[in-house]
Amino acid sequence: MLGLELRKTFLRPRALPVVLVAFLPVALLALRMLATRLQELPAQGVADVAQTYGILFQLFFLRLVVFFGCFGIFTYLIRGEMLERSLHFYFLAPLRRDVFVVGKYLAGVVAGGVLFGLSVVVQLALCFLPRMTMGGRAYLLGGPGAGQAAAYLGITLLAVAGYGAVFLALGLTVKNPMIPAALILGWEWLNFLLPPALKKISVIHYLQSLCPVPVPHGPFALPAEPTPAWLALLGLLALAGVLLVVAARRARHLEILYAGD
């Protein structure tokens, strides 16, 4: 099932927008690098680059790229089968529906994890490889760079798991997931303005707590203590687990009533 899902996620025209979204930061970084070269601007130091990347990662990559990418992948996992009228193929197999939901979810996490993880690797390469002779090597191999890179990859995977569970459950519970997704985007995006108690009801708060480079959120931000890493990790996994249970319960009562029947 995993193999079938991966093929469907990557090897079809519908996957193209998600792939383009995933590699948007890569394109932006490449353009920035090109512009710096063409205008012969002085190169940033490694520490400044790490800070700039931290901002890009938190404010653009996590909040928009992974968010929309996961929306594209996960809402379509089961809803897509309904729209293409092929869900009965799975429902007529000797497969418990909760196992089916978990299988779909894992396929989405693997697909999204590979896609966005690859994007992070290329982004980091574009940021640091040109500076290997200017302290980049020491930063990556002897300094905090390697740990930060690993953290970014891990956070990306958690973001896919967290947003994936949100959108999988959403795709199964509402007919049109666009409007709830827009509300969730607003909630996640404006998280820095929320009081500390409300901040914790979001995926982005826990992801930010795990980020290796803190990012300033401006004068209007309401500061909150970051959640300890272990708690953030458990919190995200628990959230994904609860949402999967919701999705599985919904799937168990799902009927095949394709539109137009």
Binding site: H88, F89, F91, L92, R96, R97
Partner: protein
């Protein structure tokens, strides 16, 4: 696969789609052999099959197949194969994968799954086309690959929703033969159809469904014979050169009408002897007079047949 008592049981089952009636207060027990659910389009046949396989949930009542609830798909689909009416498939899938992946979902290792897929595909005569994408199949080929999937895991109970729809005469008789061989092995086969001629050819027993109710049930033997000559059967043949076919079939005594479809790619034939017509069509196709793409029964006036069969107006609850 293990054996279970092959009995399909509906106990006071009702299904409503919102306020629209699907089926109402159905009590039905189906045993081994071939049973046909007969009724016009929208009468509730597909609803009954979908309820039996868990694709729909009853609003009231209980359905069991071989003692198993549709809520237990893991065990149920070890015993049940269902050839649905849905003509949609996972996008881009090939005929072979459609059957093989289904067997893999049954938990079979690759090699046994390949062997079984091969066998099932051979049984429905799709070996040559199996490597092609299902999306490019004709209606009849899609029917056959669905049938291959339904029988691939060697189920004890086989549910087939309009399985002969769109099959050419040769494939049709092969499928009927296949179903008979399944029934002869003591399995339970339920076929839905709105074509009495098909039912007559296939079934040990019929269940007449109309307006969501079971109108009548019992053996069909002899009924069709009584009707022969009184009520011509309509068949739509999608083919090349429908004009040539019309000229040829119209010379036959049993053909009462032959009308070319407005799109020029089909011929509607009304015949008093379906058997003779299918034999003739087979022969003409064999001689190369026409290339037959599909043969679709087009007999819509089933209600009149019910009245003839059971002697009461349709829609009367039993």
């Amino acid at each position: 696969m293990s054996t279970v008592a092959s009995v399909l049981l509906f106990e006071n089952v009702s299904k409503f789609y919102g306020e629209v009636l699907g089926v109402n207060r159905i009590d039905l027990a189906i045993g081994p052999g071939i049973t046909s659910l007969v009724g016009p389009n929208g009468s509730g046949k597909t609803t009954l099959m979908n309820l039996a396989t868990g694709l729909l949930r009853p609003t009231e009542g209980r359905v069991t197949v071989g003692g198993l609830s549709p809520d237990d798909p893991e065990r149920l689909f070890e015993q049940v194969g269902y050839c649905t009416q849905f003509d949609t498939y996972p996008r881009g899938i090939r005929g072979w994968d459609f059957v093989h992946l289904y067997l893999k979902l049954h938990g079979l290792a690759d090699e046994p799954a390949r062997e079984r897929a091969q066998r099932a595909i051979e049984r429905v005569g799709m070996s040559e086309a199996a490597s092609r994408r299902v999306a490019g199949y004709s209606k009849g080929m899609k029917q056959r690959i669905k049938l291959a999937q339904a029988i691939a895991h060697d189920p004890q109970v086989l549910l087939l929703d309009e399985p002969l729809n769109g099959l050419d005469p040769l494939a049709r008789s092969e499928v009927i033969e296949l179903l008979r061989s399944f029934a002869a092995a003591g399995r339970t086969i339920v076929v839905s159809s709105h074509i009495l001629h098909e039912v007559d050819e296939l079934s040990d027993r019929v269940v007449l469904v109309h307006g969501g109710y079971i109108v009548a049930e019992g053996a069909i033997e002899g009924v069709r014979d009584e009707m022969a000559g009184e009520r011509p059967l309509a068949v739509l043949v999608r083919c090349s050169r429908p004009g040539a076919l019309a000229a040829r079939v119209f010379a036959e005594d049993h053909v009462v009408e032959a009308r070319i479809d407005p799109d020029g790619r089909g011929l509607l034939v009304r015949t008093r002897s379906a058997e003779q017509f299918y034999l003739l069509l087979n022969r003409l196709a064999g001689e190369g007079l026409v290339e037959v793409e599909a043969v679709v029964p087009a007999d819509e006036d089933v209600q009149a047949v019910y009245q003839y069969l059971i002697g009461v107006p349709t829609g009367t609850a039993s």
